[in-house]
């Protein structure tokens, strides 16, 4: 066991944790003032719910001994039975099994929290609680097992996903789109554009996300070594390229670069580099980031109005599209020279990896789409997903939580 690696992974777990409050601020600032508290409450509730689910059985389903065919882990580690202070026999052999478990817990937590932006301002809190527990169990846990679990079938075919481009971002981005379409548009959308109520809070959220992402990506090396450093550098570089790319797109298309744009671009770049960060060079991370900034801007500012769905805070446009691009980019730019456990990509003459990445994408997109659709219908039948129109107009803060963010009088 290595104390250096243990310290690194525990610190990274804390860094990944801070991303979920970061997401809450990021979305909270973009929401209208009558809904900001509902976003914050939902994000903290998701932290609490998934933390409990993970320790009780989520970790076991994702990483527990495979039950055969690489589909799902068993319940052998229910309640963390056998997951202790000694390293696991299978995962991260130089750190306590508990350290690996809690690092992974933070990924399970942030994934459903990312989806909150899509249905902002119109989902019942009771529905959110049930939906989160079902979604993390039936969508996140299986996909995490397929890719990262020992014996998982997608890891077995050679798909590369260093820190969760698909497991976290594509799965949440696609599911968010499904929920946004099923729950319907906000009252007044498209005729009315909804202005963000506090962009400095969004900026704060974006900054917390950027910081936390160093833990997310560099921590995924699971040791304090060269690979972690590579992931750290590619993460920062891609984010920088994407932030400027989005801002320049806006400048050209809409007349001015905006703070919302540059923050959104940075997040899009962080998403795109996530699957690739431990397989590509710093130089490769520049085109990965630039293209992420451009296509995510186009998805959000052009594709969404064209198709007319109300993904309120653009979870699909940033995480879905950014994650899909990053997964493909891994197949293009990956190099064995960076990570001997990886593979060469298209640019180094290996088209097979890109093909595997495409299969990986299609399987996970179809699975997330279908299962999220089913879970939505189940929860809708149980408690009803959407608040009534009057509650929506008054705002979720008052109607779901009996409080408001900003008092007018002292």
């Amino acid at each position: 066991m290595s104390s250096g690696n243990t310290a690194w992974v525990l610190v990274c777990a804390a860094l990944v944790f801070i991303m979920t409050p970061g997401v809450a601020f990021f979305y909270g600032g973009m929401a209208r003032r009558k809904n900001v508290l509902s976003i914050l409450t939902q994000c903290f509730a998701i932290i609490c719910l998934v933390s409990l689910q993970w320790v009780l059985f989520g970790y076991s389903l994702s990483f527990g001994p495979d039950t055969g065919y690489g589909i799902i882990g068993g319940l052998d580690w229910f309640g963390l039975r056998g997951v202790g202070q000694e390293p696991s026999a299978i995962y991260a052999s130089t750190i306590p099994h508990l350290a690996f478990m809690i690092f992974q817990a933070m990924f399970a937590i942030i994934t459903p929290a990312l989806m909150v932006g899509a249905f902002a301002g119109r989902m019942k809190f009771s529905a959110l609680v049930i939906f989160t527990l079902l979604w993390t169990t039936f969508v996140y846990d299986p996909i995490a097992h397929w890719v990262w679990g020992a014996g998982g079938w997608l890891g077995g075919i050679g798909a590369l996903d260093f820190a969760g481009g698909i497991v976290v971002h594509v799965s949440s981005g696609i599911s968010a789109l499904v929920v946004a379409i099923l729950i319907g548009k906000r009252v007044g959308y498209v005729k009315q554009a909804f202005a963000p109520h506090n962009l400095p809070i969004t900026f704060l959220g974006g900054a917390l996300l950027w910081i936390g992402w160093f833990g997310f990506n560099a921590g995924s090396a699971l040791e304090a070594g060269g690979l972690a450093a590579n992931a750290f550098v590619t993460t920062n570089t891609a984010a920088a390229a994407a932030g400027m790319a989005w801002a320049f797109m806006e400048w050209k298309m809409d007349g001015a670069p905006t703070v919302l744009g540059i923050v959104s671009g940075v997040v899009a770049g962080l998403v795109a580099i996530t699957p690739a960060c431990g397989f590509v060079s710093a130089l490769s991370s520049i085109p990965i980031g630039l293209i992420a900034g451009i296509i995510c801007y186009l998805a959000v500012a052009r594709l969404k109005p064209l198709l007319g769905y109300d993904d309120a805070l653009d979870v699909f446009g940033v995480h879905g599209i950014g994650g899909i691009w990053g997964t493909l980019a891994t197949g293009i730019f990956a190099a064995v020279a960076i990570n001997s456990g990886g593979a060469d990509g298209l640019l180094l003459g290996n088209a097979k990896l890109l093909l595997i990445q495409v299969v990986y994408l299609i399987v996970c997109i179809v699975y997330a789409l279908v299962v999220t659709w089913i879970l939505y219908k189940v929860v809708d039948a149980l408690v009803g997903m959407r608040v009534d129109k009057e509650s929506e107009l008054i705002g979720l803060d008052l109607t779901q939580h009996n409080e408001s963010a900003y008092t007018v009088l002292e």
Partner: protein, 113 residues
């Protein structure tokens, strides 16, 4: 006595305040307000989505004055808030029935400043 309500551009507030102090009108109530005139709102763009026709931010001044100060007040505001562009704002002058100073119970002209 008159009650003067002036709607001005926010960035003109400091100049208007100085102009009013110069003619010894020191009491006023100021609030942030939203409104629109013939020029309509300024277009804002968020992630490529245009929000046009939004209301403009303005500042509202409310000032109660004796007859002697009415014209200096109007002149001070007009001169200081003027840019010549569209959207400089408006001044409304209303008859004021009575004023009560809460601290002393004084009424009318004596209570006004």
């Amino acid at each position: 006595m008159k009650y003067i309500i002036a709607i001005i551009k926010p960035h003109k507030l400091d100049e208007v305040k100085k102009a009013l102090e110069a003619v010894e009108v020191n009491l006023m109530t100021v609030s942030n307000v939203l409104g629109q005139g013939r020029q309509k709102g300024r277009t804002e763009i968020y992630r490529g989505a245009k929000e046009s026709g939004g209301l403009l931010k303005k500042v509202k001044l409310e000032i109660g004055v004796n007859e002697y100060f009415v014209e200096p007040t109007i002149r001070g505001i007009t001169e200081a808030a003027f840019t010549g562009e569209i959207g400089d704002g408006k001044i409304f002058v209303l008859d004021l029935q009575d004023v009560v100073r809460i601290g002393t119970g004084e009424r009318g002209g004596k209570a006004i400043n």
